[in-house]
Symmetry: C2
Subunit: 496 residues, 2 copies
């Protein structure tokens, strides 16, 4: 067996463990009774240790070196697979095992404190444990920087967005900061000049909401023979490509929020489902990164399902299933409610225009904290200053400020940028889809999504991790990633 | 760290993987969409390989030997844990890895053929693959016989019923064969002299059946903060002691069959839930074996929930939740339906009196096949002869004969005896419980099961695998396992 073939066998096994962990995560968020959490955590920790041991086994490094000397005759998929194996190995071996464990334990401990601190609006109570998480995250970043030959911040970013670069993020975010404030002002002014669209009166039965969600998911191409829709506190897309498990939540007073969450997760699910089956369980068969993943959810949610065409398709279906009557169920009202702009304090409730401000704020602050330029104790004040500067509003308390997101408390540093990178990629891909599929708008009105899915399948989903994010964007759209399509999309939708 | 302590760490990890596999099994039987089965099978196979590698790692044998030389100062639990570690290790290393894999693959292949052969009533079609399973099972048995110092059949049995002995099984089954035919005749005669109890008219809504099941489970002590009740094709008890997942099935025409399945699985669940928490994930913390496990489900189902006292407790609850009226809902009718005797062809539908005949038949035939005394091609005829001899009925086809159970086709040889051993243990334990708890009958009428559960907790559940099955029975009942209490129970219930 060649070194490369041996590696495929080893990574197939690692992939199997990774899938098992994913299924257990889904169970923990959807099915598990509360008393099961301790056993559940230990099962996952055990599998993670085993996976890490498999990845860092002494012979893997030698096999990688040997395989990299055998690339003649390899096809592009094998080469890319070997590249991704090397990347995963570098991440795994860069950090000593006891530091991995210490970071993981600190994050778990901090998350527990945060869960109480957030509703209590008590940032001071979480400061010590968050300090420990930050200290260990810095150590991890420093260790990975050496192992990966990157800056510490990029070494963290690379785990979520492979080859992600701070220079590019700075350039893109700088452009957004250039046009967004003016665009927001004009969108708000335009909105103020319009009547507020009527809102449908609830309550909306959960069973009817679910029926509507399932129906729209099926129209979008979600295959319930290879996936499920369940309920969890925070919607997510989990499971495996052959058994995609998405979750949502239902509000009996407002069906639209849950529905849009469902459609967002459906975008993630369609990506997972169409990853290349012949590379299942191999690194190259995985989704490219979190920015590309978010682009697929946002393309479905923002570009497709918040369009006026989708409103024309979906409004009658929703009216029929939810049993509604009156103007509030007209496509126009549905559409206008979907694109309502309102600067607010909470990221996950933000509209398309203000969302980047939330992300950029977090990226700036986390980099400052990691660099030691911002003390944790000064985070609440810095947060308020940034919110004032960017959106002109200031949270009255930390609950609606720096305590609102789990990420930092849970040890996820370097993640936030992928949300807005995803929005940019979604807009650029959507612009190219519209050029390739001149009938797209009509298709959406008719609920015909197969040509769109075929385009995404060919240009994104089926590529797995064959290409870098940058290469995939260039090949699919003919240009490097920029902000022009995103800006144009916002101008057309909110000012047009 | 002492050798023993090192082993505890290693086995804790093995236990974590085992629990993860159990959760994935539950998912596969309850939640998984059909298209997920391939990925699901690979995840489980991967974890099984990892678990086997952990168990057979070269240093484990040395650690066991070293720990066995350090037993001075160890408590009884540590010693028992070490004994169980050695047992698991012996089973794992006895069989070469490629034979394990070959047997597993043959069983999977045969099970697929059997799933088609059974409804098609086509034993001939499954004969070649079943032959391969039997051939490899013989090889496994021979290898384990050497490694464990047992006879080949006992080496298979030991995996399900540790220290199980064919001599004891022959003795017990011989006694049963001595008294059961006459007892069956007399029970049938007595039943024939009674009016058939009226049957409640359905349909019974699944949601109401579930509500009734949940209510009775809670009364029996099932903790829904640490467990679930779901639906699967074949009821089972899975999950982990801190998150016990039982399943059932509902028939809208007949609520009793599903309810009794649920109560049977509840008995298994109460055992799992009360295993010693301080030995969680260690071999000594596991349930003692399949015979003892079955005793707990049968004690709850047969000894408690098919008693006239339980009928008095449950009938009004069922009538209220299921909305029934008339004589069929009287406790007496409920009770008489629960103890109806009817010799039949299908094991899983059998009553308490005829069940042992189904088991003994299978045990005799499987031992003859393993010994080479019965050719597979002659199995259908041998089955018919045995059924004629034991129950006086003959299946018209193999679907209701030797094709009915999955066990042999799935590679499970040596398992069947545990069903009837469990019934004997249940009867003997129940006799001792009645002596210890003179108010038991009244307690059951009042739906008060805590004293019973406390007795079982003290004498069985909390012991884990500290003692052998034989020791546990002797300590709990003051006698070795026999058939007298089972016979007396049947005489009192069916002839009294």
């Amino acid at each position: 067996m060649s070194a490369y073939t041996t590696l495929e066998v080893r990574f197939r096994r690692i992939g199997g463990v990774r899938q098992a962990i994913s299924m257990l995560h889904w169970d923990g968020a959807t099915m598990m009774p509360p008393g099961g959490s301790g056993a559940h955590a230990e099962q996952i920790a055990t599998l993670q240790v085993l996976m890490h041991e498999q990845l860092t086994a002494p012979e893997i490094g030698d096999l990688l070196t040997a395989a990299e000397g055998e690339t003649e005759g390899m096809g592009p998929w094998q080469r890319a697979n070997l590249r991704e194996m090397r990347r995963r190995w570098r991440h795994a071996v860069a950090v000593p095992g006891d530091l991995v464990a210490a970071h993981s334990h600190a994050a778990s401990a901090c998350e527990v404190v945060w869960r109480a601190a957030r509703p209590a609006n008590d940032f001071a109570s979480v400061l010590p444990t968050l300090g420990e998480v930050l200290r260990l995250t810095r150590e991890v970043a420093a260790a990975k920087a050496v192992g990966l030959g990157l800056s510490p911040y990029e070494a963290l970013l690379d785990a979520y967005e492979p080859d992600g670069s701070t220079a590019e993020i700075d350039r893109l975010f700088g452009e957004i900061e250039g046009f967004l404030p003016d665009l927001l002002d004009r969108a708000l002014a335009r909105q103020a000049g319009r009547n507020t669209p009527p809102t449908p009166a609830g309550p909306f039965r959960v069973s009817a909401q679910r029926e509507a969600s399932v129906g729209l998911m099926e129209r979008l191409g979600f295959d319930f023979a290879r996936g499920r829709l369940d309920v969890s506190a925070h919607p997510f897309c989990g499971g495996t490509p052959d058994d995609v498990r998405i979750t949502t939540r239902y509000d009996e007073a407002d069906f639209a929020t849950g529905l849009m969450s469902t459609l967002h997760e459906t975008g993630h699910a369609l990506y997972e489902r169409s990853l290349p089956a012949e590379w299942r369980l191999q690194p190259v068969g995985a989704a490219r990164g979190m920015a590309m993943h978010e682009s697929q959810s946002l393309l479905i949610e923002m570009q497709v399902c918040r369009s006026p065409q989708f409103a024309r398709f979906a409004a009658p279906i929703l009216r029929s299933i939810l049993g509604g009557e009156g103007d509030a169920w007209e496509p126009e009202a549905f559409y206008l409610r979907q694109i309502r702009v309102r600067p607010g304090l909470i990221r996950v409730d933000a509209d398309e225009i203000t969302y980047p401000a939330h992300v950029i704020l977090r990226c700036r602050l986390e980099r400052a904290m990691l660099a030691g330029d911002l003390a944790l104790a000064d985070l609440p004040g810095a947060w308020r200053d940034e919110m004032q500067k960017r959106l002109g509003i200031v949270p009255q308390d930390d609950r609606d400020g720096c305590l609102q997101d789990i990420h930092w408390y849970d040890g996820l540093w370097g993640y936030f940028a992928t949300y807005t990178l995803g929005a940019l990629i979604a807009a650029q891909l959507a612009a190219s889809v519209r050029l390739s599929l001149p009938t797209l708008a009509d298709d959406i009105v008719r609920g015909e999504f197969r040509p769109l899915l075929q385009w995404l399948g060919t240009n994104v989903h089926s590529k797995g991790s064959l290409l870098s994010t940058a290469e995939m964007i260039s090949e699919a759209t003919g240009r490097p990633l920029g902000t022009a399509d995103f800006e144009l999309h916002l101008r057309e939708r909110y000012l047009g």
